[in-house]
Symmetry: C2
Subunit: 230 residues, 2 copies
């Protein structure tokens, strides 16, 4: 556990329990949400008694946070690897969408936690904004870099790389959400293809319609809109 000495018996047990608890937590939080999940349930799922849980994680919050972080780290790692493997921008976009869709579909409970976490961020009054911002940043940085390069290299039209990345991010999340909720068969591959084609066509160089000025309504929103209440 620390440094690199031979792991003691305690280290091994700790690692084993921590892992089992995290897996159990992901399953339970994914299925019931933070409030719906009970420590008792998580403990049973990990084949321990409730008290044991508190030997490895300080609180419900702590185990939730750990489970979420673990998934995010793995997701980021996979996303980054996929993008780095892509030789050019359109492949990078496809890789981003594909890698994430794949990961989420292999880890449905994690995806549920992920969506709930995003929802919480919007709901909660507590301004844990910075932590959340960092999380999104980690997930989008690589793709944003690739898009920025595409723009400066003239590969695609002049767009705000951050906005484009976030758009792809949103599309992917929506796509996965639908795949998970779907009761009838849902052709993920073709949905992924649609999203990538939509985005690629939308970004590709061509006579850009240069963000046609929208009249009326939208204009009124011009001013910076901070977190002001309705």
């Amino acid at each position: 556990m620390h440094g690199h000495r031979r792991p003691t018996r305690t280290d091994v047990i700790t690692e084993y329990r921590r892992d089992a608890l995290l897996q159990a937590a992901t399953r339970v939080f994914g299925k019931y949400g933070f409030d719906g999940a009970t420590m008792e349930h998580i403990a049973r799922e990990a084949d321990v008694a409730k008290g044991t849980t508190y030997l490895y994680y300080r609180s419900k919050q702590a185990i939730y946070h750990a489970a979420l972080s673990r998934g995010l780290a793995e997701l980021d790692q996979r996303t980054h690897a996929a993008i780095d493997r892509a030789p050019n921008l359109d492949d990078a976009i496809a890789a981003f969408v594909t890698a994430r869709a794949e990961y989420f579909l292999e880890h449905r409970d994690f995806f549920r936690m992920y969506v709930a976490a995003i929802s919480r961020q919007i709901t909660s009054v507590k301004p844990r904004a910075s932590e959340f911002q960092a999380m999104v940043d980690r997930q989008t940085r690589r793709l944003e870099g690739a898009i920025a390069r595409g723009v400066s290299r003239g590969e695609i039209r002049q767009v705000d790389p951050a906005a484009a990345t976030l758009a792809i991010f949103d599309l992917t999340r929506g796509l996965v959400a639908r795949a998970i909720v779907a009761t009838k068969a849902f052709d993920v591959a073709s949905e992924v293809a649609f999203v990538t084609s939509l985005v690629w066509t939308g970004l590709k160089k061509g006579k850009a319609p240069a963000a046609r000025a929208r009249r009326g309504a939208a204009e009124r929103e011009r001013a910076g809109v901070g977190p002001r209440e309705q």
Copy 2:
């Protein structure tokens, strides 16, 4: 309240309380989420005692459902009106995005409830899928129709209208979420313009890149992916 006889005193009071409670509920549920909200808090916010709440709504679930439904109805109404006012497809798309973004930004607490509801749908094990499906359908039907017409009329390239609509839907939601979480100024108008331009460029007729076959990973997902567990 029923039929069209002169409203009795009771009717007036009922309407007044119901309305106050729904407003209060939206505020509280929006800020604290379903579980975080307490009936006591909602009651206080509506200037009544807890018991009074139960004179007008059977349960916490009931008031939650009523508040959500009311917002959805209004949102749908506005969205539909905006689309119907649009003379052609690209205006319809812009109208959809703008109308929704506007409504959500004017009713931030409702938006929070809305996002939480979506998240719940994904999280919850209970298959209330059909009700949810209906909700999304109501919100997208009009735009989907417009897009379908655009396709058959050859105005845009051959795409699945449902998929395109859902994509626009997702982009709008993401955009609003960011506007609401944003700590620094956030230029909604330009974000709306970006999304509409991205979509419009992406859908517009042109040498369609015909969903370039994605090799590898995505392919493996081909089979219908139902709600199977990880």
